[in-house]
């Protein structure tokens, strides 16, 4: 395994194939939680954490249980992938919530309300499935999980910064609120399209 390969995965996940702006994953929190900078930061941190953990667990589940070649049962159980992944993510989120509440009440206060929302964030299930379909090995899957979360947080923070200023801008009545948020997102996607020419 080469370092340059990992580097490519990082750049690709953060900029070239950004989860929100290019792959369209995790749009609900992107539009819903981007009204304030602090809450966007909290949500971003929670997503990075859960995405990394989910990458680890779902890769292990796929490798040791579902895959016909390496699984301990020896059967092709890949048809159970969707169910197994979503259940393990739900369990994981619940578990993380309980651990954080016990061990770090301060962090829990900051992340608490966002954690339950993350189960239904398609970015988490998305990164788990992409790790499998792209045939990443264990290290690559973890790196992809972290950097996809970073990419999500980056655009979430950018969006929150823009929307805090939009509050004071004069927007045509019909476009106020969500419509203008989408148009801003379109402009950001246009800017991120510039990264698509990056090659190594």
């Amino acid at each position: 395994m080469e370092i340059s390969n990992l580097f490519f995965i990082i750049i690709s996940a953060i900029f070239i194939n950004n989860f929100v702006l290019v792959r369209f994953l995790g749009l609900c929190p992107y539009i819903g939680v981007s009204k304030k900078l602090d809450s966007a930061l909290g949500m971003g941190m929670a997503v990075i954490f859960v995405m990394t953990m989910a990458s680890v667990f779902t890769w292990l589940i796929n490798h040791f249980f579902l895959s016909p070649e390496t699984g301990i049962f020896g059967y092709d159980l890949t048809f159970l992938r969707t169910i197994a992944f979503i259940l393990s993510i739900a369990v994981l989120v619940q578990f993380v919530e309980m651990v954080i509440r016990k061990s770090a009440p301060e962090l829990y206060k900051a992340l608490g309300i966002y954690l339950p929302l993350i189960t239904t964030n398609c970015a988490v299930l998305g990164v788990s499935i992409l790790n499998i379909t792209e045939n990443y090995n264990f290290i690559e899957a973890i790196v992809n999980g972290i950097s996809s979360g970073l990419g999500f947080t980056l655009v979430l923070l950018l969006m929150a910064g823009i929307r805090e200023r939009l509050e004071r801008a004069e927007v045509p009545k019909a476009l106020q609120g969500m419509p203008i948020a989408f148009i801003v997102a379109g402009c950001m996607a246009l800017a991120f399209l510039g990264f698509s020419g990056l090659k190594f």
Partner: protein, 196 residues
Amino acid sequence: MKPIAEFTKGILKENPVFVMALGLCPALAVSTSVENAIGMGAAATFVVLCSNLIISLIKNFIPDKIRIPCYILVIATFVTVVDMTMNAYLPPLHKSLGIFIPLIVVNCLILCRAEAFASKNGVGLSILDALGMGLGFTLALISIATFREILGSGTFLNMRILPQSYKPMIMAILPPGAFFTIGLLMGLINLLKKKE
């Protein structure tokens, strides 16, 4: 009158995409062509219909505290059914929808209908609600896809409707086009609502 209202509310008044902003990820991602939009709409409608039906039947047996995982399990089962059926009979469509088929599981629209409607109402009303919401979702997808396909490739359902000399606006089928289209369509709907 009530049953009819439960059916029609999803189409315009509580349209899942344009008004309630649910299920945005697939709505933007697969709306590059009308064909994909219809496929995705049909898949989501099937899942919301089946999950609403099952959840309204078993709602009294599910303990309140673990209801969300139970709903997700029911939904994931039907998503697997759709995934495998589409892979067997419509492989090209399955390929172009790609990762968004398994991601129907986490489509907020479906979980929202289970939690907000099917867990409180009977079987008949839940089916009507699911059909209305599914139809509303499909229509929203088709309306976004119509703009993007005509502008981006000059076709509608793969039939050429703009002359050959039309230079396709590639941006419309790239990600930014999706954001602009849904933003402007939402604005248009707001404008129409104000007039009423």
